[in-house]
Amino acid sequence: MPEELRQLVRRCLDGDQVAMQHLVQRYRDRVYALCLRMLGQREDAEDAAQETFVRVLRSLHRWDSQRDFVPWLLAIAGNRCRTQLAVRMRKPAPQALVEPVPDHQPDMMAARHLAEEVDLALRNVRDKYRQAFLLFHQDEMSYAEIAAAMECPLGTVKTWVHRARRELIRQLGQRGVIAEPRYATEKV
């Protein structure tokens, strides 16, 4: 872990509000992105991200400085999201609105369309699979880090990520998002 981050954490533990602000500013986008992918709604994602940082700042003294900070932070974010999802299961929330596409260029629209479809498909993947998938692909964490963050064996994480991929592939195929194969061979 970089020394700079260690010092920042130390200042936060001393009650330095500026340091706390810097810490939140540094990781807010990653945490918020994960929360948004997990929850699918901006308001819920922001609530979960806020709760995550509040918990992190409150229990910063419990963090083992030998461990990486980001996996610990994202693990807390994932837990908050799963808690919110559990609450939502009991109390169904209104469907999230799909934001309008501002750009009319065909390539951009196609790319954006694909990203939106992946985003939508992700919402139908099981929570733990989704979290593991996002931590691996979006936050580029290693399997070992994800396993530590989610407190489960490395092999289990691998399986979850593979299952998430397969589930996404299945959904994208069903929705007709997947294009025709690129490897159009001439010698079939």
Binding site: V118, R165, R166, I169, P181, R182
Partner: protein, 266 residues
């Protein structure tokens, strides 16, 4: 290669973050088998889609909202609010006390002036200057051995002003009267200081002055408030527009310019 093994290989490459099109085995299988081809294309699309996922940012002020939820910050804000409240209360109390004291002393001074005028009218004139100077504290004519009660109990016949020399004369009945007024001022200040102590229902026998004096002594503590309230009400009456049908232009009510209701005295 079986389709299942083909998919496993794709996953292995993705796990190691190796681009799929860089593996010749996969390419060869995809070229030969339609299902493998489709599967590889779907994984590539998925990978592309994941990379295209945007990195959304929360609304502005996110950090402040987080810090606002921390208990320490909340407590500090609450303490700050409490300090401000206490400071405002203290300032208000001090202001009220000062106003009360000023008004009380002013009222007592007026009372003395009116008494002096009354004495002047009755006795052929007692000098105002003498009366005013006698109201001052530490008047040199007060005997050091006598108590206030002794002094107050004596009768107070009036003496013309020209016969009085406050610096050299011994205690005389008119000086006793002025000491009496001085004590009245003191008593009214004590009333304010001691939180407006309750007064007896009837004038005590020792104070057989006029009834108005007794009422003044009883209500002396409340006068400052009444004076202040009167001032505020008068100011409001002067400035607020009249809200009725006869004055639709909402002009401030001037003296004598109205409906006969709330004309402000000049």
């Amino acid at each position: 290669m079986q389709l299942k093994k083909f998919e496993q290989r794709i996953n292995d490459l993705l796990d190691q973050r190796i681009p799929l099109d860089s593996d010749p085995t996969l390419r060869d299988c995809a070229e030969e088998n339609r299902q493998c081809r489709q599967l590889l294309a779907r994984y590539e699309e998925l990978q592309e889609g994941v990379q295209l996922l945007d990195r959304p940012t929360p609304r502005a002020g996110f950090e402040d909202r987080v810090l606002g939820q921390l208990p320490g910050t909340r407590r500090r804000r609450a303490v700050h609010r409490r300090y401000v409240l206490v400071a405002l209360t203290l300032a208000g109390s001090v202001l009220l006390s000062i106003t009360a004291l000023n008004s009380n002393i002013w009222d007592a001074g007026n009372q003395q002036n009116s008494l002096a005028t009354g004495h002047q009218a009755l006795d052929g004139g007692v000098a105002d200057e003498t009366m005013r100077s006698d109201v001052r504290p530490h008047s040199p004519g007060v005997p050091s051995g006598g108590t206030h009660a002794d002094v107050v109990g004596r009768p107070s016949p009036q003496v013309p002003a020209e016969n009085i020399d406050e610096e050299s004369q011994p205690l005389t009945p008119d000086r006793v009267a002025s000491i009496d007024s001085y004590l009245a001022v003191l008593a009214s200040i004590e009333n304010v200081a001691s939180g407006f102590q309750l007064q007896p229902d009837q004038p005590p026998e020792a104070e057989q002055g006029t009834r108005s004096e007794w009422i003044d002594s009883v209500t002396g503590g409340f006068k400052p408030l009444a004076v202040s309230m009167n001032g505020v009400l008068r100011a409001l009456r002067d400035t607020l527009p009249a809200i009725n049908e006869e004055t639709p232009d909402l002009q401030p009510q001037a003296a004598g310019a109205g409906t006969g209701g709330a004309a402000v005295p000049a």
